[in-house]
Structure formats: structure tokens, C-alpha cells
């Protein structure tokens, strides 16, 4: 029972983006289209799960003093792997996400989970935690990206979903739209909590 909770908590109750407001940079930067959002979510989830696995496995060998640098090396390695693999197999997506792939290293969600969870829990729990958090992050990205893409381009995943008479609100896919949509969504989450 509690094992399942490790998985589900990241999706709603402790959603890294909406509830904990972590990892905002990539969320705002790549959410101008749903396709980019899914790509970014997948890349971050991969890094989260695998760095959680590794850190959970090697945590016994790492002296406390150097745990943060060690975690950073583990995370950076997985980020580099994702970077290289994406460039080889999905070059177009890699180009769209650009700088934000290497910057997964400094995404507070990943180091945060390594430090707060994987460094203290066993393998199974760490994997579930990584998956849950990754999924929560991806879902948040998709929600924001859907709103921005539909309002700003009248499209969803590149397909027209609104009638031709709808004039796209360009601002939604430009930089200010990211902040405005995010702010309104956070307000909405607060409203629900009350």
C-alpha cells in the first residue's frame, strides 16, 4: 500500500511543479508546444529514475561529506547520455529543446529527489519515487503546453483543433504567455486547496 503511495504522491499531492514549484525553468521554456513538453518530460523522467536507482544502490559506499558532488556526477552522466542519445535518434526534438537538455543537471527536482529520497530509501521505493515525480513533472508540462498551444496556435500536437475562425492569441506561445498561464494555474491550484 505505502509502496504504491511512493508512486502516486508525485503526480498530485507532491507534484513537483504545481505544489513544490521546482524546476520552473524548463517548464516555462519548453511548454510552447505539447511535443516539446512530452520530449522534455521523458528526458527528465529517464534521468530521475536512473539517477534514483544508482544513488539508491551506491549510497552505502559514499561518505556523507561528498554525497552532493557524487550525486551531481551521477546525474550529469545520465543527462549526458540522454543528450547524446536524443541527438542521435530524435535530432529535431533535440534541437528544439536545445540548451535545456544539459540544464536538466541543475533541475532542482532531480538533485532534490536524490538528496531527500533516493539517498535514504531502498531500490524499489526509489524507482517508484523517480517514476512518480517524473510523471508528475511530465503531466504538469503537458497541461501547460496544451493550454499554450491551443490558445496560441489553435493546435494540439501540431494538429488544428479549433475552427479556422479562431484567431490565435499569439502571446500564449511567446515568453510572457508562459508566465501568465503558469501564474493562473498556480492560483487555480490554491483555490482547490481551500
Amino acid at each position: 500500500m505505502s509502496v504504491i503511495k511512493e508512486f502516486t504522491k508525485g503526480i498530485v499531492k507532491e507534484n513537483p511543479v504545481f505544489v513544490m514549484a521546482l524546476g520552473l525553468c524548463p517548464v516555462l521554456a519548453v511548454s510552447s508546444s505539447v511535443e516539446n513538453a512530452i520530449g522534455m518530460g521523458a528526458a527528465a523522467t529517464f534521468v530521475l529514475v536512473f539517477s534514483n536507482i544508482f544513488i539508491s544502490l551506491i549510497k552505502g559506499f559514499i561518505p556523507r561529506k561528498i554525497r552532493i558532488p557524487s550525486y551531481i556526477v551521477v546525474i550529469a552522466s545520465f543527462v549526458t547520455i540522454v543528450d547524446m542519445v536524443m541527438e542521435a535518434y530524435v535530432p529535431a526534438l533535440h534541437k528544439n529543446l536545445g540548451l535545456f537538455i544539459p540544464l536538466i543537471v541543475v533541475n532542482c527536482i532531480i538533485l532534490g529527489r536524490a538528496e531527500a529520497f533516493a539517498g535514504k530509501n531502498n531500490l524499489i521505493r526509489s524507482i517508484l519515487d523517480g517514476f512518480g515525480m517524473g510523471l508528475g513533472f511530465t503531466l504538469a508540462l503537458i497541461v501547460i503546453a496544451s493550454i499554450r498551444e491551443i490558445l496560441g496556435a489553435g493546435q494540439f500536437l501540431g494538429y488544428n483543433v479549433l475552427p479556422a475562425t479562431f484567431k490565435p492569441m499569439l502571446v500564449a506561445i511567446l515568453a510572457p504567455g508562459a508566465f501568465l498561464v503558469m501564474g493562473l494555474l498556480m492560483g487555480l491550484m490554491n483555490l482547490k486547496k481551500k
Binding site: 561518505p63 547524446m84 542519445v85 541527438e87 542521435a88 496560441g152 490565435p168 506561445i173
Partner: protein, 191 residues
Amino acid sequence: MKYFLRLGFVLLVITTVASGILAYINSLTEPIIKENQRKAKEEARMEVLPEAVSFDSISYLNEEVIYAGKNNEGKLAGYTFVASLYGYSSDVKTMVGVTPDFKVNKIKIIEQTETPGLGANCTKPEFQSLFEGKNETVMLVDKDGGEIVSITGATITTRTIANSIRTGLKFLRKIEVQSEPEEIHREEVTE
């Protein structure tokens, strides 16, 4: 002291293992990445000059090779070059296919990060087909007296593309025939 040596040792082991794994993966992905880049350019070339079956390099423009394409009878099918200029907020690169009489055959925008919804509309086929059959004398935005209809709200991007292609066409004509065509008497419009 011994404790610090141990710390250093553990970090060293972790970093070495990580570098080893990365080196291995890099050796797997690097050839694929190189091949992808080569293929992407080749495909763009084929797309803008479909009649050509073989390409020979003849010169350079914007640090990219200018190719002369031959059709399957070995005759000149046209040229391809990469036009490049800074647009509204990014470098806009266009693969241009040129017919043997120096008219644009087809173009394909291969690199841009202009404003989404405005300048970025330059990648739409409707826009790219505007350039077909035009030579350098009319390769100007309508506002500058040419025949290229600007994208709504993105004159600068359109002008960038038209100007970069015009420069390329002129350069190509210069190296290929070393003479200006007779029909050019239009004054150069200053940007």
C-alpha cells in the same frame, strides 16, 4: 588525512566510471549524429532540386558548399546553395535550389528560431512556394518593390530570406557566367 584521501578516492572512482560509460556511449552515438547531419542536408538538397541525381561541389557561400546538380543524363540540372542572414531574432538558413537559368527552383528553410506564430511561419509550404520561379531581379519583398509577399507581421523575416537568396543568386551567376543579365536595371533597394 587518511579520511580525506578516502573521500578523494571515492570521488575519483565515481568520476572515472562515469567518464568510461560516457566515452562508450559517445562512441556509439557520434557516428549516427554525424550521419544524421549529413543526411539532413542531403535530403534538403534533393528536395529543392529533385531532378538532380548527383552533386558536385563548385564553390563556397556562407561556409557551406555550393553544388551543381546533374540529372540522370549527365546534364546540368541546377545548383543548390545555403542562404543565410540574421533575421528578427535568429539566423535564418535556407536551402535554395536554382535552375540552370538562375531562377529559384524550390527553397526549404532549414534553420530558424524566429518568433513563433509570426516569423516562424516562414517554414510553411505556402510561403516557401512563393519563391519558385523567381530570379534575383524580383527577389525582393513587396514593400521594397519585389514580388515576394511578406508574412503578416513579419516583414523583417521575409526580407531577410529574400535578401539572403538574392545575394546567393547574384554570387552564383557571377561565378558561373561572369556577366550580369541584361534585364537588370532596377536600382538596388537599401535595407
